[in-house]
């Protein structure tokens, strides 16, 4: 697999580990923003291989984890309405709302389908003109252009039975929120490579400057990740701040102008609640007024939603890197992948589930 296999080369991994080992002189705490990177780190056991003085903490870059409970509950309520075909990425099916997950909603008679692409949801709308097809548009900047294209295309085709429930979030405001927290421990970032593919790097320079941290956009393969860790460590050791691209074959300084244009046409920036974290100003995307007809939130009145979070769950701290999942008192006890209390235990990339799945000490 070109552009995958060579970045999994064990010799290169060893080489980079040696270089990191040589570069590091004292403990550093580095956050990988992206859940996909968390997943790769744990899948390949990279954290076991890094020097113990480097601590990787897992950021809030998982839409499954951060989509606010209110939005999940709203999605469940819309899905349960008669005549609705509710579509969502497979990732979202098991995410627990206040009362249930999408499987429960479906098992009570709703028509819930997973799609791999927002355009599939559009096709379902074309194929089912007598139904309302609703798409749960979650994601970060990587996914938002595709979601935007689906909405724009529905408008172009006049597909009045299609609408999207938008719960999209932006990375830089979340980084600022983490860095400005008084108990912040994060000293450097691996930035989310595929987010940067769309956005480019411009938004990251001021973050690095304001908070005095190194930010290194990284890929998702072991070599990419270790190369990025190496770059962060080198900058930290040298006392440097700024943005250094470690994923140059995919990330460019300016990002994808066409994608940004469509995103901006369809969405506008708004305040947004992050599950477990709270409201972050100007950290989300909402559907613009001109596409209101395709906004499921405006289209379906589901009455008052009163989300009920678990009081045990410390996912807010986990998502900000303050708490390692194992340190949550509920981890592996009241909270497991089979009975998740918080979103990070649900997603394959949720920090808590990743720990539970791959790292729980055997024999324990």
């Amino acid at each position: 697999m070109k552009y995958i296999d060579e970045y999994r080369n064990p010799d290169l991994v060893r080489l980079l580990l040696e270089q990191i080992d040589n570069a590091v002189s004292r403990p550093w705490t580095i956050m990988e923003i992206c859940g996909g990177q968390t997943h790769a780190i744990v899948r390949h056991g990279l954290d076991q291989l890094l020097p113990s003085s480097i601590r990787l903490v897992h950021g809030p870059g998982c839409p499954v984890c951060v989509t606010p409970l209110e939005m999940i509950d709203r999605a469940h309520a819309i899905a349960a309405m008669p005549g609705v075909i509710f579509t969502t990425f497979g990732d979202m099916l098991r995410v627990p709302g206040s009362h249930q997950d999408f499987f429960s909603v479906r098992s009570r008679g709703a028509d819930v389908r997973f799609v791999f692409s927002p355009l599939e949801a559009l096709q379902i709308a074309r194929d089912n003109p007598r139904h309302e097809v609703v798409f749960l548009a979650v994601g970060f900047e990587t996914t938002a252009p595709g979601n935007a294209m689906a909405i724009k295309q529905a408008a172009t085709e006049g597909l009045g039975n299609f609408s999207a429930l938008s719960s999209q979030v932006l990375v830089p405001p979340a980084m600022r929120a983490i860095l400005s927290s008084p108990d912040n421990l994060v000293q450097g970032f691996l930035a989310a490579g595929h987010v940067c593919t769309i956005t480019g790097l411009c938004d990251y320079f001021p973050v690095a400057e304001t908070y005095g941290v190194p930010i290194v956009p990284a890929g998702f393969e072991p070599v990419d990740l270790l190369n990025a860790v190496l770059k962060v460590v080198e900058m930290l050791e040298a006392g440097e701040t700024g943005v250094v691209n470690a994923y140059e074959r995919v990330v460019s300084r300016d990002g994808n102008a066409g994608a940004l244009r469509v995103m901006d046409d369809v969405f506008e920036i708004a305040d947004r609640t992050w599950r477990g974290i709270g409201v972050i100003a100007r950290s989300g995307l909402r559907i613009r007024e001109k596409y209101a007809a395709f906004d499921a939130e405006r289209k379906f009145d589901v009455g008052h939603i009163e989300p009920k979070e678990s009081s045990l769950c410390m996912s807010g701290d986990v998502l900000r890197g303050i708490l390692q999942p194992e340190a949550c008192p509920a981890f592996g006890k009241q909270c497991t992948p089979l009975s998740p209390l918080g979103a990070p235990m649900v997603s394959g990339e949720g920090a808590c589930a990743a720990y539970y799945r791959y790292q729980r000490a055997w024999g324990a």
Binding site: G139, T142, T156
Partner: protein
């Protein structure tokens, strides 16, 4: 977030007015929307996420950094064999 996989564009088509393509990932072929990589040519590699191609992979950049690493590896191997010869 943002599982995105590199693959090679093998065909371009048009559907409902959108530029679409077939992307070969190790022999599996998936359909992706090409609207965000309007200049892509068949044969080029792209990153696919949720049914959308997001970027033409910069093959020169990739080759360059890979060459640096491979040289490091070669150097390291030479050094090691030199050490062993000593």
């Amino acid at each position: 977030m943002c599982l995105a996989i590199p693959g090679k564009l093998i065909a371009i088509s048009q559907e409902h007015g959108l530029k679409m393509g077939s992307v070969d990932i190790s022999g599996s072929v998936t359909r992706a929307c090409l609207e965000y990589v309007p200049d892509i040519q068949v044969g080029q590699y792209t990153i696919v996420h949720a049914g959308f191609a997001l970027k033409i992979i910069d093959e020169a950049e990739a080759a360059e950094s890979m060459q640096v690493w491979n040289e490091l590896l070669r150097a390291e191997a030479e050094e090691r064999s030199a050490r062993e010869r000593r």
